[in-house]
């Protein structure tokens, strides 16, 4: 009997700590892109009923570790954690994306400084608060970035770019660390 072995996107690449900043691979569970049908009100109700999560507005994330919903695009959110409830299918296109994204957590006192070298987004805490999310660039890569804590960020890029993500983070982390 043959058996297929699973491998995570960042296998062999992480964890990595340089200076005060650490990056680890994040296991977010099942990732599902949900594209609501119509005005999305029924979807929001269904999401609330099924998973207890609010439907995030643009630039926002709802939920907590293990059960999160990230705004992801025009008319698309990403459910991270639970297996999507069947009831959602009546109100949204439901697409499994569990293996499509390399997910990492960047944390530490210098995390914002590291991001400032790669991402053209204002991460000041008064502007980009916990629960805020952005679809933006990490250097040249399309990414999703969510603040999950004061110094903690969740970063998603295409699975195929996991190596480049780690490389870019490493370069930026070294530059930040070199400033002491």
């Amino acid at each position: 009997m043959v058996e297929l072995k699973a491998q995570t996107p960042c296998a062999g690449l992480l964890p990595m700590t340089i200076g005060s900043v650490t990056v680890v691979e994040a296991d977010l569970g099942v990732l599902t892109s949900l594209s609501p049908v119509g005005d999305g009100k029924d979807f929001a109700a269904a999401l609330k009923a099924a998973h207890g999560l609010g439907a995030p507005k643009p630039g926002r994330a709802t939920g907590r570790d293990g059960q999160r919903c990230l705004w992801f695009a025009r008319s698309e959110v990403l459910l991270a954690g639970p297996v999507p409830d069947k009831t959602l299918e009546a109100h949204a296109a439901v697409v499994d994306q569990s293996d499509g994204w390399a997910c990492v957590t960047l944390s530490g006192a210098g995390a914002v400084d590291v991001l400032a070298r790669l991402v053209p987004v204002d991460f000041r805490e008064s502007i980009f608060k916990r629960g805020h999310t952005a679809r933006t660039l990490v250097q040249h890569m399309s990414a999703s970035i969510t603040r999950t804590g004061a110094d903690t960020f969740l970063i998603l890029v295409f699975r195929s770019m996991a190596g480049t993500l780690v490389h870019e983070l490493k370069v930026a982390m070294e530059a930040v660390a070199s400033r002491g």
Partner: protein, 978 residues
């Protein structure tokens, strides 16, 4: 020489550095310029054109003369201003533009030829013969004229770039900037205070002023300490704001490690910042301007404010017998400070008859002008001219002041023009030239310290007002408030060359010559004379040059206007702007799940978009790629081959109107496709040309899976977005890329089903899984998908599993294929297989061809509309004379075919007008033991069997080729259905 008791350098921290091979000592806080002056080194460079000896002129980033190269080897950096470069132990610097040495420069012969080398000389002299320009004149001129040179090697240094955001950006940390930053910060705004200097304080560091009864530099240090403690303030020293751009964006260059030996390999030398500010306060100060007179470029002739700066900040007197020459009261300070510090002041010369000097202990000449300087590598004497005639004064340093020019540069970066201020005889910023920017202090024409302090606060108030924040009253310190009195003096009349632009060797005569030759516009004058070009961008000379031009053309200065100030304010290394894009940072690498295994198998990679795909998988004993490729083609034709096709775009399309979207995007119909079946589809651009092709599977009643070519995946997504957002927003359809979620492998060849049945949870046969069937399967217990499609013409499948299992499945497939006498195949074999079968790629559909051209016009359904359909029916787009897709095979002695070669009728000259078509793809077919090609030939389908000429003018290859069907293998298509 050092002056005891003066300066804010750290005399307890000696620093040793090198200049032109010699070792010198300075102190922590010294620049190269101040340390060299302290060591009585005054010759620091040679001029651009005439190689005249030059010394340091200024004490800031505007320096035109003292340009040096720092470091050695690959990372050596040219054109560094000695006035900006801080010294550190181990710093190596060298002079530039001199050979064999700075002291003895043979190119100084240019100076003797100066009468022939004036403005416009090149344009007039080197016009004939024309072909000599590139071959002889330009290289010779470039060799003789120039600044420092790059090493020519790859730069090993690290640079970085970064983003910053704030409410208020304060540019410059002199009295106005410090007060503006403090007032804004007290009001709760997020403030970035940036200053190009290593220490904040601006002019306060260089003067003997007092603020609130304390030395101004001490007051400034106190303010900096206070700001540093505030959480909402970010202090950026050694950071030059280089440009002001749209939407509140600013460019800034930070010298991160230029002032010390790097601590680690990864420590960046410089950081290029992009700063976004809701509002900004420009407190950039002002630059003192020289007065032009004969030989005013002799080393030892310096700006009066610079002499004060060297004395008061660095404890250095640039001379032992200093003379001061000015047309304004500010110049008097230099004489006063020098005298008070015990330096001999040989004379104070003021061009104004009515200058108020007071009771001083040194000779004062009112109504006199310096009309010449003597000495070559070092100033020895000056000649002054007054009503009583000319007289010489022995001096080794002349401090000159022609007044001050506000640093308006940034306010002009969005094409604003500064306004002429007659009282100041200078340009000041035009309010609103940069949205949200308030100019304050000396850069706005407020020259007293008290006025600067006040202007800083009011600028902060104005800036924050616009942001809805209120600045409370902050206590204003007390400082000097001397009036700025000046009578304009741009150039002293007389013979000889009086220099305006030191860096480009432009004299008063050159400007006048430009006017005589009718280059009267200031922009024309600039280009004719080169005034204001190169690294200093004429910061010292622009206003004086246009004043001379105004005089020569009989216009006023405001009518003459200024040239355009553009970013960057001061030079920025390209390496800094391109930071992060070196090496692996150039572009993301997209790696498939089989990447590591492919590398382990020795496969060279080729790039497809950002993806890396294996070219071929060499085996022991194979010496050329062709051997590997032929073997891999054989796997698919005879046994079974495995290929990673995960890179193809995969788009999940769902919704009530999914079929409508597909019918509209594709030329052919997908609404009629049965669930569980796949169909090949063709997409046109709006202009009727082919955009992309691929297969599309119907997974459910309202769910499809579209595949695209690897390179066009993003393009097709964008196309679908455009259709659904702009053309049919009423459709209920959503789509999302699942390219990354699935690892997908082609399993192709007669043994494909045998292989798959060894790992599918439920075996398949031809009835349950016929050609073009698709559906869900279990792959070794993992839910996957299976598509019976073929890009080789063989019995073939594509099997997909979630990407986490990709690496494992590839291992398994290769192992099973090898067990059946097959194995992995790469892009080379894939290409040969599809050429043999006449399948197209973007080599054929290169954006210029129509469905008609590739023989697929019948795929453009006449039962429905689709994107590009109407436009594809334009006259000419279905003209039989258009080149159309055909196969080509060698028909003469030359057996080599090349992609990119052009086709001509037999016997016709290989000229553009005779072109019949071109070759798009070639490959060696093991089955035909011959090279085969796809290409486009005018009326090609009607010319089967005709032999024509293939000419590859680039590679020098010519062959006779026969036009044939593009399908070389299994034209009946029996194999795919087997």
């Amino acid at each position: 020489m050092r002056v005891a008791g003066k300066g804010i350098i750290d005399r307890s921290a000696p620093v040793t550095f090198r200049f032109d091979g010699a070792s010198y000592q300075g102190y922590a806080g010294d620049t190269v310029a101040s340390a060299l002056l302290a060591n009585n080194v005054r010759l620091m460079g040679r001029s651009f054109k005439y190689h005249r000896p030059r010394g340091v002129l200024t004490a800031g980033s505007e320096e035109p003369n003292a340009l040096i190269t720092t470091g050695t080897g690959a990372g050596a950096e040219p054109n560094v201003r000695a006035t900006v470069q801080e010294i550190f132990d181990g710093l190596v610097t060298t002079s530039q533009n001199a050979w064999p040495s700075l002291e003895f420069d043979v190119m100084a012969v240019n100076d003797l030829a100066a009468p022939f080398l004036g403005a416009g000389f090149y344009y007039k002299t080197f016009m004939w013969p024309k072909r000599f320009w590139e071959a002889i004149y330009e290289p010779v001129i470039r060799n003789a004229a120039g600044l420092g040179a790059l090493s020519g090697q790859t730069n090993p240094d690290t640079y970085e770039k970064a983003f910053a955001f704030c409410d208020v950006l304060v540019i410059g940390a002199g009295p106005a900037g410090l007060m503006a930053a403090w007032a804004a910060a007290e009001a709760g705004a997020d403030v970035i205070l940036a200053d190009e200097d290593a220490i904040m304080g601006g002019r306060l560091l260089a003067e003997t002023h007092e603020i609130d009864g304390r030395p101004a530099s001490v007051w400034a240090a106190g303010m900096v300490d206070r700001l540093a403690e505030m959480e909402n303030v970010r202090l950026m020293t050694r950071t030059t704001i280089t440009g002001a751009y749209d939407g509140g964006m600013f460019g800034a260059l930070e010298r991160v490690n230029q002032h010390r030996a790097p601590s680690a390999d990864s420590a960046p030398l410089e950081c290029f910042w992009r700063i976004h500010a809701k509002a900004s306060v420009l407190a950039a100060g002002a630059l003192e301007r020289p007065v032009a007179f004969q030989n005013n470029d002799r080393p030892g002739v310096m700006m009066a404010s610079a002499v004060r700066a060297y004395l008061n900040r660095w404890g250095v007197s640039p001379g032992q017998r200093v003379t001061v020459f000015g047309n304004n009261d500010d110049a008097h300070r230099t004489a006063r400070d020098l005298h008070a510090a015990g330096v001999h002041v040989a004379a104070l010369i003021d061009s104004r008859y009515d200058a108020e000097v007071g009771d001083v202990d040194y000779p004062v000449y009112r109504g006199a002008q310096v009309c010449n300087a003597s000495g070559r590598k070092e100033l020895e004497a000056i000649t002054i001219r007054s009503a009583s005639g000319e007289q010489a004064i022995q001096t080794d340093c002349l401090a000159v002041s022609g007044g001050w020019n506000p640093s308006v540069h940034l306010t002009c970066h969005m094409n604003g023009r500064p306004a002429w201020h007659a009282d100041l005889q200078a340009f000041v910023p035009t309010p609103g030239a940069i949205p949200g920017m308030i100019a304050a202090g000396a850069c706005n024409g407020s020259f007293s310290t008290q006025a600067c302090l006040e202007a800083g606060v009011s600028a902060a108030r104005e800036a924050l007002d616009a942001l809805g924040k209120t600045v409370a009253d902050v206590p204003l310190p007390e400082a000097e408030d001397a009036p700025y009195r000046l009578t304009p003096l741009w150039a002293v009349a007389g013979k000889g060359r009086a220099w305006l632009d030191f860096q480009n060797d432009v004299s008063v005569k050159d400007i006048k010559q430009a006017a005589v030759e009718n280059f009267r516009s200031v922009e024309h004058m600039k280009r004719y004379t080169t005034q204001g070009m190169a690294t200093d961008q004429g910061k010292n000379s622009n206003v004086a040059a246009l004043a001379v031009l105004a005089d020569a053309t009989g216009r006023g200065i405001p009518e003459t206007g200024t040239t355009t100030f553009r970013p960057p304010y001061s030079p920025v290394a390209i390496a800094a702007m391109g930071a992060g894009a070196q090496g692996k940072g150039f572009a993301p690498e997209r790696l498939t799940t089989s990447h590591a295994r492919s590398l382990a198998m020795g496969a060279p990679m080729i790039e497809a978009g950002l993806w890396y795909r294996p070219s071929y998988f060499p085996k022991a004993g194979e010496t050329t790629w062709r051997q590997s490729c032929d073997r891999e083609v054989g796997y698919v034709r005879q046994k079974v081959g495995v290929c990673d096709v995960s890179t193809l775009g995969k788009i999940d399309i769902q919704g009530r109107d999914a079929a409508k979207l597909l019918d509209f995007a594709y030329t052919n119909t997908f609404s009629t496709l049965k669930v569980g079946r796949v169909r090949y589809g063709l997409m046109l651009r709006e202009d009727g040309h082919v955009m992309d092709d691929g297969t599309c599977a119907r997974l459910g009643e309202t769910q499809y899976l579209m595949t695209t070519t690897t390179a066009a995946a993003g393009l097709v997504m964008r196309h679908l977005e455009w259709i659904t957002q702009a053309l049919h927003p009423e459709w209920e359809v959503s789509f999302t890329s699942v390219t990354e979620h699935w690892a997908q492998f082609a399993v192709a060849g007669p043994e494909a089903r045998t292989l798959l049945n060894g790992l599918l949870d439920a075996p398949i046969d031809n009835d349950s899984w016929p050609f073009m069937a698709c559906g869900a399967v279990g792959v070794a217990g993992v839910p996957g998908r299976l598509f019976r499609i073929s890009f080789s013409g063989e019995h073939a499948y594509e099997v997909a599993v979630p990407a986490r299992y990709g690496a494992s499945l590839f291992d398994l497939l290769v192992q099973k294929a090898e067990g059946l006498g097959g194995g992995a195949y790469g892009m080379e074999a894939l290409n040969v297989l599809r050429i043999e079968k006449g399948f197209i790629t973007h080599a054929e559909i290169d954006g210029r061809v129509t469905a008609f051209d590739i023989g697929m016009q019948r795929m453009v359904s006449d039962k429905k509309d689709c994107i590009g359909k109407t436009m594809s029916e334009r006259p000419g787009l279905m003209d039989p004379d258009r080149p159309q897709l055909v196969g080509l095979k060698p028909a003469g002695a030359v057996k080599q075919l090349t992609a990119g070669a052009h086709l001509y009728d037999a016997g016709a000259e290989a000229a553009r007008a005779n072109m019949q078509g071109y070759v798009t793809s070639v490959g060696f077919s093991p089955e035909h033991d011959s090279m085969l090609a796809l290409g486009f030939v005018a009326r090609g389908p009607d010319r089967m069997g005709e032999v024509i000429r293939m000419v590859d003018a680039v590679r020098g290859i010519e062959a006779e080729v026969e036009i044939c069907s593009p399908v070389f293998v299994d034209p009946e298509g029996g194999r795919v259905r087997g």
